[in-house]
Symmetry: C2
Subunit: 203 residues, 2 copies
Amino acid sequence: MKREKGLLIVLSGPSGVGKGTVCGALRKEDTDIRYSVSATTRAPREGEAEGVNYFYKSKAEFERMIQDGELLEYAQYVENYYGTPRSYVEDMLAAGHDVILEIEVQGALQVKETFPEGVFIFLMPPSLNELRSRIEERGTETADLIDNRMTVAKEEIDLMDKYDYVVENDEVESAVERIKAIVTAENCKKDRLIHLYKSLVEE
Amino acid sequence: MKREKGLLIVLSGPSGVGKGTVCGALRKEDTDIRYSVSATTRAPREGEAEGVNYFYKSKAEFERMIQDGELLEYAQYVENYYGTPRSYVEDMLAAGHDVILEIEVQGALQVKETFPEGVFIFLMPPSLNELRSRIEERGTETADLIDNRMTVAKEEIDLMDKYDYVVENDEVESAVERIKAIVTAENCKKDRLIHLYKSLVEE
């Protein structure tokens, strides 16, 4: 039995927790999930590619997209814009596909206003010390920026209450398994299925 | 991170849908789930064993257990009693283990009154014709009893609204995978975890 509309799944969490790594590992699995690609004004990191990790935009292009309502959500984060192009997400959901957005916490809360029925997953570091180590290992940030990120991370963890699920990113494989389980379970939610089953009784 | 109290998972659905088969297959999997064994006054079916499928009781013994408050729920169903011994379930939950009850629909709704925080899964046949075939194949029922079961099944499907999840028992393996996913997802629910994580921020 196929429901008419797909699930919107929002994977978020503090910067540095490993959202990109977890989402990348999930994409390698054999699932029917579709992945939204965000737009950003930040520079590509080594190994990242246009249209795969992000659509890389100039500040002027990004602001034009905001003006024209082409973004489902956007946020400015450590001097760069990040946003989700609206049309891909809406088309996939309408076609009955589950779609995952991997986005920053500010953006996730914006999406929640438009899609309260979405499934909001907070990816959590095993500890704040571990989060700091991961940001430091990335080696792309100055000490001041790292301190700033840690302050923001604590504020973001306080926003966990707005989410439906918390997944600890202790090991990437375990986090991926838990996210897949959440998607499977959400597709078994009675509220999403009951109208399909009521007709069975009238056979 | 381990939460203090386990999840109570209630697997129910119309008689004949295959609750016993699905639960049996789930027990063979490597999980941390504990299985409650019900008491019943019905005669053992071929291949069933005392303390594994059920605790088999006389009517008098069962009624003594009801009197003494030793049952979490009980129901009379097609002339037999079925019930869940209370102490095992409460002990396992208190020790932090997830416990599955495989019970009839009437009993599930009783458990919901005592454990509204439980996870209620409705096992659904692919169709009513398929349900009738499964009951007929079992070969333990007269034609009148089968008609009676089908009427009850339709009433039970109308009670699906009281459940949290609906799992279609199209293939036993798929049903088992979905139930495992539901247990994993429920253990990631923010409401069950948030108090454990708030302390992280105060490190």
